[in-house]
Amino acid sequence: MHATYWLIPLLPLLGAGLIGLLGRKLGKPTVAVLGVGVVALAFGLTLHAFLAAGSAPDHRIETLSFTWMSTGNLQVPMGLVFDPLSALMALVVTGIGALIHLYSVGYMWEDEGFARYFAYLNLFIFFMLCLVLGNSLPLLFVGWEGVGLCSYLLIGFYFETDYAPAAGLKAFLTNRVGDLGVLIGMMALFAHFGTLTIANLLRQVGHLSPEVGFGVLTFATLMLFVGACGKSAQIPLYIWLPDAMAGPTPVSALIHAATMVTAGIFMICRLAPLFQLAPITLTTIAWVGGITALFAATIGLVQRDIKKVLAYSTVSQLGYMFMGLGAGGFSAGFFHVFTHAWFKALLFLGAGSVILAMHHEQDLFRMGGLRSKLPITFWTMLLATLAIMGFPGFSGFFSKDEILYLAYLKHPALWIIGVLGACCTSFYMWRLMALTFWGEPRDHHAFEHAQESPWTMTLPLAVLAVGSVLVGYLGVPEAFGGHFAIGRFLEPSLTFGQAHAHAGHREGPAILLALVSTVLGLGFGLFGFLSYRSGLAVAEARGARFPLLHRILLNKYYVDEGIELCILGPTRALGRFLWQVGDVIIVDGIGVNLPAALTRLAGDLVSLFQTGRVRNYALGMVLGTLAILWIFFK
């Protein structure tokens, strides 16, 4: 039975291959059935593996097939691991992935690149499953790079535009910076432990003597965190994610909200025992996450593009997850990954539905009053908004509250940052909702033609909406009388049989903290809603009152410009110098053209002897013969 689990990643690969090679011949309905079908099948198999792993000893199933690499003292077996962490993540990837595939059938139906789109999307699922289920760091890294590739391909999906390929390139290059960190981290771990198999690595960490391993672990985990920053869009490598919205909206939902961008958090959870022993790294993670959470949320306050708002919201939410990880709450961080996958995917899909209804209009300032036109989209997005702002009883409430509580235990300043970020979150989400669904329609022509999306799009919305409300109950924190069930469920993966990984003390005014953050969040949500419900007048007046602040936020703190000035500009100048001097003058000039010129000169001289007259040649032969005779018989 375990051998069939190999089908989980291989089915989407098969789908990608078939659709990629035969896409145009198959026709749209076949492509749609095939593309959605393989992911749905993979979901079914994952569910089976998930249940089987739950009842297995150690809650862990490992399928090994063959030795992948064997050089010197490096042995890397090829295998899949199903433990609570990876199986749950694989369920998210295939489950939400299948829903978004279904949604894409409706969303992309009119597009020329329908088959190409599904080939990329299936390929993405394959690589993501490699990343999640891989039993070794190299396999994880293959998936890591593969999802980056698919992300690049899908961001640049509309390749005939100017901005989409540029955005894809930006994402790809920014991720390369992080990937270098992952590689260095992997090599550091291999140099010290002599293995790259995750299970062996975690087992050996337990026997590590503190004075020897501390430095190595801190260095390796920091490097891995750099990689996580790149993939999961944290300061300073977050800049690619907002631009990544150039891709089709379902891609933003699947890759740039629900699954791929959480790969960094997943990797840290996967290697949790390592990070647990590196307190410096954990503190760094907590602060980077916290600052990102607030920073991105403030940018989200003023964006006009509906997808840009959601993109900054994603960066901000990822910051929360890292803050949770850094505070030692690996299960809390991953819990937020899990809940966020539901409601953020839903928000993006809802936004896609709105965009489609408005004929590809993404500007919030040109929407309005769509509540009656798009009832299903409206109600599902409302639930998602309540979930993300942390309305009591919704999923985001439980996961975010647990993170904020842990942040408070780590450092009260982190909690304050987190609550401020949460206030911004409520504000920009209600601003988005009010501008989209309330008020007067600001673009009457588009409004007249707006209509609800087909069932392939609304069904995923409904399923995700149910999830957004309910999944929080998997991990009701102890402060609210729950058991934080998801934490116990994930514990075998996160501690890996090591006792010290469990944070012992849990004290603090949990209820009070939750009350403060929730009331503030609700207040700011109401503030945002009331400011924008009746139109743009209030907002414009406020923007005029703080022109400097407004301009800074609107221009995203000028980070892109700063990077352009400090890094890209000098790099480009260096490149131009190497091109003009190193390449044009030295390589092309001295290396290639100079020998060519000399050869040509010599040829011109020698060709004077080529008269074309047979008498001259005969004379040459005679002289040559005489010379040879003279040499031999002198």
Binding site: G612, V614, R615, A618, V622
Partner: protein, 107 residues
């Protein structure tokens, strides 16, 4: 030793052969008419024949020399046939038999 030549000495024959060869060579190098150059070539070939036969007789009627002489006669006949055909072809194309004007390889 009855290997001495019947009439005259070996040196005389070699001298005649040498003279013939040099005259032929000079003809080829100096004259521009292809037909005359051809004659020069024939002279050189026959100079070689004279030398071969002289040596054959000198070595007491060595068959190898005689056979070589026959081969050269045959080859010279073939060469003359091909060469004259080329000269005719050139004349048709250029209306000349001047070898200095057949310098298309220069271009």
């Amino acid at each position: 030793m009855n290997c001495a030549l019947v009439h005259g000495s070996l040196q005389g024959y070699i001298l005649v052969a040498l003279l013939l060869f040099v005259i032929g060579l000079a003809t080829v190098l100096i004259r521009r008419s292809l037909l005359i150059q051809f004659m020069g070539i024939e002279l050189m070939l026959n100079a070689a024949n004279v030398a071969l036969l002289a040596f054959a007789r000198y070595r007491g009627g060595d068959v190898q020399g005689t056979v070589f002489y026959l081969f050269i006669i045959a080859v010279a006949a073939c060469e003359a046939a091909v060469g004259l055909a080329l000269v005719v072809a050139l004349f048709r194309l250029r209306h000349t038999t001047d070898s200095d004007r057949a310098d298309a390889l220069r271009q």
